[in-house]
Symmetry: none
C-alpha cells in the first residue's frame, strides 16, 4: 500500500522501474514550494523543475496537484508523538501544543485546509486524506485513552462500540478546535489555551462516560 499508487504496474513488473529518488525529490520539492509559494501558487511545473524531474513524471505518479500535496504533507503528521507525561491532562496539553506547532509550519498551514476544501468535490481525494492523514492520527487518541485507562484516570470501556464513538468525538473536538483556533480565529494556541481545552475535555469526558 504505497502512498503513490496512481496507475501502478498492471500485473507484475515489466519495463524500467520507477526511480525511487525521484519520488522523494518530488515530495521534498513540493514541501519547499508550499513554504515559498503557498498552495494556490504552487504549480506542477514549478515542482517538477525544483525536483529536477519532468512534469510527466509527476503526472505518472499523482493524478493532480491535490493528491501530490496530500502525500507531501501526510508524512509530517507522523512526527506527532504522545510521550507519557504522567497524566491525561498533561498528555492532552502536549499533543495540542504539538499539533498547533505543526499547523504553524507554513507548508502544513497552507496545504491542509486547501486539500480539505478540494476534497469536498473530489471523492478520491477525500479518501486519500482519510487514509493518509486522518485515520493514521487517530492512533494518538487511542494511545492517550488507553494510557489513561491504565493509569485509572478513565474507567475501562465496557462497550467497545461506545469507546470507539467517544474516541472519534474526542478526535474531532481536539483536532477541530486546534485547527479552528489556529487557522480560522487566527489566534495563538499557547500553553494557557491548551490547558483550558484540556480541562474542558477532562471535565466533559466524565460527563460523557456517565451519560454513556
Amino acid at each position: 500500500m504505497s502512498p503513490m499508487c496512481h496507475s501502478s504496474s498492471p500485473r507484475g513488473r515489466a519495463g524500467r522501474p520507477r526511480s525511487a529518488e525521484a519520488g522523494e525529490a518530488i515530495l521534498e520539492a513540493t514541501r519547499a514550494a508550499l513554504v515559498e509559494l503557498g498552495w494556490s501558487k504552487l504549480s506542477m511545473g514549478d515542482v517538477a523543475t525544483r525536483a529536477g524531474v519532468a512534469k510527466t513524471t509527476l503526472y505518472r505518479r499523482w493524478a493532480n496537484k491535490n493528491e501530490l500535496v496530500v502525500d507531501a504533507v501526510a508524512v509530517l503528521f507522523d512526527e506527532l508523538e504522545l510521550p507519557d507525561l504522567g497524566s491525561l491532562q498533561a498528555d492532552i496539553e502536549h499533543v495540542v501544543v504539538q499539533f498547533a506547532a505543526l499547523l504553524e509550519r507554513p507548508e502544513t498551514k497552507t496545504a491542509l485546509m486547501a486539500v480539505v476544501a478540494e476534497s469536498t468535490r473530489d471523492e478520491p481525494l477525500r479518501e486519500r486524506i482519510r487514509t493518509s492523514i486522518v485515520e493514521r492520527q487517530k492512533r494518538l487518541v487511542l494511545a492517550g485513552r488507553e494510557r489513561a485507562q491504565a493509569r485509572g484516570e478513565l474507567p475501562a470501556g465496557r462497550d467497545e462500540e461506545a469507546v470507539a464513538v467517544t474516541d472519534d468525538l474526542i478526535f474531532d473536538v481536539v483536532a477541530g478546535a486546534v485547527v479552528h483556533r489556529s487557522l480560522v480565529s487566527a489566534e495563538p494556541v499557547d500553553d494557557a489555551w491548551a490547558t483550558r481545552l484540556s480541562a474542558l475535555l477532562l471535565g466533559g469526558l466524565g460527563a460523557v462516560a456517565e451519560a454513556g
Copy 2:
C-alpha cells in the same frame, strides 16, 4: 460599513452611480456557481456571465475571487439562529445541528475551507473572513451563555475577561468540532453526535468554571 467596499466613490459622486441590483446579482451568481462548480472551478468570467455583468464590474467591487466568495457566503451564516429551547443542552444541540446543515450546503461546504486556506497567505482576506463571518457568529455563543446564566445553568461570570476567553474557547471547540466532523472526518453530524458533543461541553464547562 457595506460588505463590498473596494474603492468607493472618492469624495462625492460624479458620473454614473453603481448599479444596486448588480451587486446582489453577482453574489447570487457566485453562490450558484459555487453550487454547480465548487470553489476551485469557479471563475470570475463565469460569474460575470451568469450575473449578466462585465468582468470589469466584478473587479471594480472585489479585488479577487476570494473576497467575492467570502461576501457571497457570509450572508448564509446570518441565518443561524438560537431559539430558546429551555436548556443549554438543547440550545447547543440545536445550533450544532443547524451549523452542520449549513455546512452541508454545497456552496458553503466548498467555499468555507477554501477561503480559510487562502487566508493563510492573504492577510486582508483573513481580516475579511474574521469580520464578515467569524466575529459575527460569536453572537451565538454569547447569547447561549447569557441565556444559560439567566436560567441559572451557569454561574454569572465574575471576571469579564475570563468569560470572553471561555466564550472564545467554546466557539472554537463547537465550530471546529462540527467542521472537522463534517468536512475532514466526513461523517454525519446527526442528533446522536450533537447530543454527545453537547454533553461533553456541558460537563467540561463546569470543570473549566471551577478551574477558571
Copy 3:
C-alpha cells in the same frame, strides 16, 4: 473577406477591437520562424514570443499552425509578376525562373509542401490554400495566355470552357514541374531547364489546340 477570420465578431462590434499591428507582427514572426526552424520545428509558442504577443492571441485568430502558415506565406506568392517580354516563350521562362526563386526561399520551401500534405486530411485547410494561393496565381496563366493571343502566338479560344480547361492544365504542368524539379528531384531550376520546359509547353500547346 479578411484572411484571418477565425470566429470573428458575432453580429456587430463590441469590446476592444483586434490589434491590427499584432496580426502583421505575427505573420512576420511566422515567416522568420519558418526561415530559422522550418515548418516542423515551428511552434505556436515560439511565434507568439517572437511577435511579442500571447499565445492566446494566435489561437484567437487562427485555428492552428497550418492556417497561420498558409496566411503567412500566401502573400509571398503575390509578388510573382508577368512582365511583357515580347514572346510567350520568354514570358513562360521568366515566370518559371521567378517561381523557382520563390520556392528556393526557405520559408516557402519548407512551408508549401507541408501545408499541402496536411491539407490532404483537413478540408478547411485545403480550401484556404485554394483561395489564398492556388486560385490567386492562376491569374498568371490567364494573363500569359491572353497576351499571347493578342500577339497572335495563340489562336483566339472559341470555346470558353476548353480555354479554361487548358489554362488549368498549363497551370498544373508548370507549377507541378517546377515544384517537383525543385523540391522532389532537388535539382536546380536554371535558365536552361526553364528554356526546355518552355519549349515543351509551346510545342505541346499547338498539338493540344489542334486536338482540342
Copy 4:
C-alpha cells in the same frame, strides 16, 4: 543495400539477429496508421503498438518517423507498371492514370508531400527519398522512351547526355503535373485530363527534339 540500414551490426554479426517478420509488420502497421490517422497524427508509439513491437525496435531500425514512412510507402511505388499499349500516347496515359490512382490511396496521399516537405530541412531524408522513390521510378520514363524509339515514334537519341536531360524533364513534368493536379488543385485526374496531358507532352517532345 537493404532499405532499413540504421546502424546495422558493427563489423560481423554476433548475438541474436533482427526479427525478419518484425520489419514487415512495422511497415504494414505504418501504412495502416497512415490510412487511419494521416501523417501528422501518426506516432511511433502507435505504430509500435499496432505492430506488436516495442518502440525500441523501431528506433533500432529507423532514425525517425520520416525515414520509416518513406520505407513504408516506397514499396507502393514499385507497383507502377508500363505495359506496352502500342503507342507512346497510350503508354503515357496509362501511367498517368495509374500514378494518380496511387496518389489517391490515403497512405500515399498523406505521406508523400509530408516527407518531401520534411526533406527540405533534412538532407539524409532527401537522399532516402531520392534513392527509394524518385530514382527508382525514372525507370518508367526510360522504358517508355526506349519503347517509343523502338516503335519509331521518337528519333534515336544521338547525344546520351541530352537524352538523359530530356528524360528528367519528362519525369518532372509528368510526376509534377499529376501531383499538383491531384493534391494541390485537388481536382480529379481522369482519362480526359490524362489524354490532354499526353497530347501536350507528345506535341512538346517533337519541339524539344528539334530544338535539342
